[in-house]
Amino acid sequence: MIQRFLSLEWKQFTRASYFQKGLAIKILLFLGVLYFGGMAIFMGGLLFFILRKTMPEVDPIVTVNNFLIYWALANLAIRFFMQQLPVMNIKPLMTVPIKRNIVIHYLLGKTTLSFFNFISLLIFLPFSIVLLVEGYPVLNVVCWFLSLMFLNMAINFINFLINKNNTVFYSLILVILILGGLEYFNIYKISEPIGFAFNAMYNNPISVVIPLSLLIGLYKINFNFIRKGFYLDGAVSKKIEEVKTTDLTWMNRFGSVAPFLKNDVKMIWRNARPKQVVMMSFFFLFYGLIFYTQPTYIKMPAVLAFASMFVTGGFLLSFGQLVPSWDSEYYKLLMSQNIPYRKYLESKWYLMVVAVSISFILSIPYLYFGWKIFSMIVAGAIFNVGLNSFITLFGGALNRVPIELNVKAKAFSNTNGFNPTQLLIALPKMLLPMLLFYIPYKIFNFEAGIIVLALSGVLGIVFKNYIFSKIEKIYQNGKYKTIAAFGEKK
């Protein structure tokens, strides 16, 4: 029985869409996995030495224990965001003569092989090995390591229980932010009591049974949950959402693009995938924090120009690059309805402009880093609106990968719209702002760089109509190919 399941699994793996892509993508994916895996191992291995160096008075294991609460919370949040219980897969197995319990054990067992479980393993395994090499007591370290792995799996199963509930997710994020804030401002340190507990666990190896029993308990709950819902209208059923209607008539002021804009807003609001993209693009706002705080980057203004473009361009880059794909599920309707292509594209452009504007308002706190940095953000925003938006739309014309709107993207299978052409088109988006800034900066001065970068955006807006008709032509020419590609079964 097991080998049959395994052969199914193997077929699912090798025939998955991301394996059907070109060799270049496979290599990139492989490198990506290698990179993240390598980073995790590297971090895990170095963590001990870093901690000993920065805080020589505290035992590194104590510090780690203190911060494990954040590891657990972040772990859960990331899983909630990315990982789904593959419960739908049991549908074809329901009528097959296999005992239900075996199917469920298989299903739950399968989730242990998830990418998310390995990340923690890859961090804590090298850390534990370093501890052993450094002469920490073997029994304690091994039991501590096992406890963490049990907890890791327990989080895996908690996630499946709360996965269907969005409020849990947002409360979780809120809790992390509040706890982090309290910790940072020294008001209340949640890490102390939790750290105390973990330290106690480390000192008493026998307590490994606590996380173990927690894991077993959660496994049982999950098992019963699926066992009870092992019917078409139970856990397997697609959740039917309650309709949330909002009055969007105020958007009618956008004139002829209004119908599309209203539709796009609903599309983002009501589908899992675009929602994910919007949340991701929110994180782009913090990109500046990485660059503006590092003295090394301050001396490299070209890199800063690039970062400044990123701050306001998150939505533009992540949503915009998949432009026709967002409508792939009903592209035939759009192509046969009474729709001028121009209006369709314009509405997408407006959406990006609004997003850049909102990001720009949210980036005002960057004034903290001074006018120079902020003027770069302003120039970056103008560049995004006037030029980058068009480059992105142009790139979209070459993108013919259908998207399943209401399915969350999974880690490392998120190759929708990820192909060599996409990479090629991403290059000018990244390099252009750097060049536009850097060349006048080198020849004249900082202000000239800012002005040229901003001016390029203004030029784009001035020639908007001309550029739109060019882009429209490209979309028109690719129409049949796009329809055919979107019609293909995913």
Binding site: K238, I240, E241, E242, V243, T245, A258, P259, K262, N263, K266, M267, R270, N271, E329, Y330, Y331, K332, L333, M335, S336, Q337, N338, I339, P340, L405, N406, Y480, I483, A484, F486, G487
Partner: protein
């Protein structure tokens, strides 16, 4: 209204459709029948400029469909679920189509209210997204969506499939009325010979991409079609 001339479509040199000449006059209810792979959907897709003809052309009200987009304002269609926007409620979908076709909310409400018994109280005001409706109910919404905005040409691919008997009967009445009272040219394809002979004035049989029969519907048509398809299966 619709003229087809020397039209063919080939994929990798395999011809899937080859129609030398086919004229559909204004106000005709036109039925297309044929087995799977006969080329019905291919023909409709060509008519809507969703695929490119290998040779020949289709003119819709004297507009070359693969060169100009001006046929779009008076042509509407429902081919499959990819004509529905899954994350909208049926009402929102109707209003969206209405907006594209220059209809006010009230116009759309007026039109849609005429189909209340067609909907059988399963579409409107249900607070459900289209993607969560059953196949049959999705189809009902799609068909009514295709009637919005006074189109002169309506194209429906397999409209009777997945519908319950009551709705099938109501749909037949709707199609007849559209052609007779409103002079709409209506193109329907179906696997159900009884339904097409019921609603269509003219029936064309496609076989492996070619027109093999072109009949004006009469009492004898159903028998003739049945004989044709039965004979075919014996070969």
């Amino acid at each position: 209204m619709i003229t087809t001339s020397n039209l063919s479509k080939a994929y990798n040199s395999v011809t899937v459709l080859n129609i030398e000449k086919l004229d559909i006059p204004k106000g005709q209810s036109f039925g297309l029948v044929g087995n799977n792979g006969a080329g019905k959907t291919t023909y409709f897709s060509l008519l809507l400029d969703l695929i490119q003809p290998t040779t020949g052309y289709i003119k819709n009200k004297n507009i070359l469909v693969n060169e100009s987009e001006n046929w779009k304002p008076f042509t509407s269609s429902f081919i499959d679920e990819s004509f529905l926007i899954g994350y909208l409620t049926p009402e929102e979908y109707f209003y969206f189509i209405g907006e594209l076709r220059g209809q006010s909310k009230k116009d759309v409400d007026n039109l849609v209210s005429q189909f209340e018994d067609f909907f059988h109280d399963e579409i409107l005001g249900k607070k459900k997204y289209l993607r969560d409706l059953s196949k049959g109910n999705q189809k009902k919404a799609g068909i009514v969506g295709a009637l919005i905005g006074n189109p002169e040409v309506i194209i429906l691919d397999e409209p009777f499939a997945n519908l319950d008997p009551t709705t099938q009967i109501r749909l037949k009445q709707i199609i007849k009325d559209l052609a007779k009272k409103h002079g709409v040219t209506i193109l329907v394809s179906s696997h159900d010979l009884l339904h097409v002979t019921d609603v269509c004035e003219r029936i064309v049989v496609l076989e492996k991409g070619e027109v093999v029969k072109d009949l004006v519907t009469s009492q004898a048509t159903l028998k003739e079609l049945e004989a044709h398809f039965a004979g075919e299966s014996l070969n």
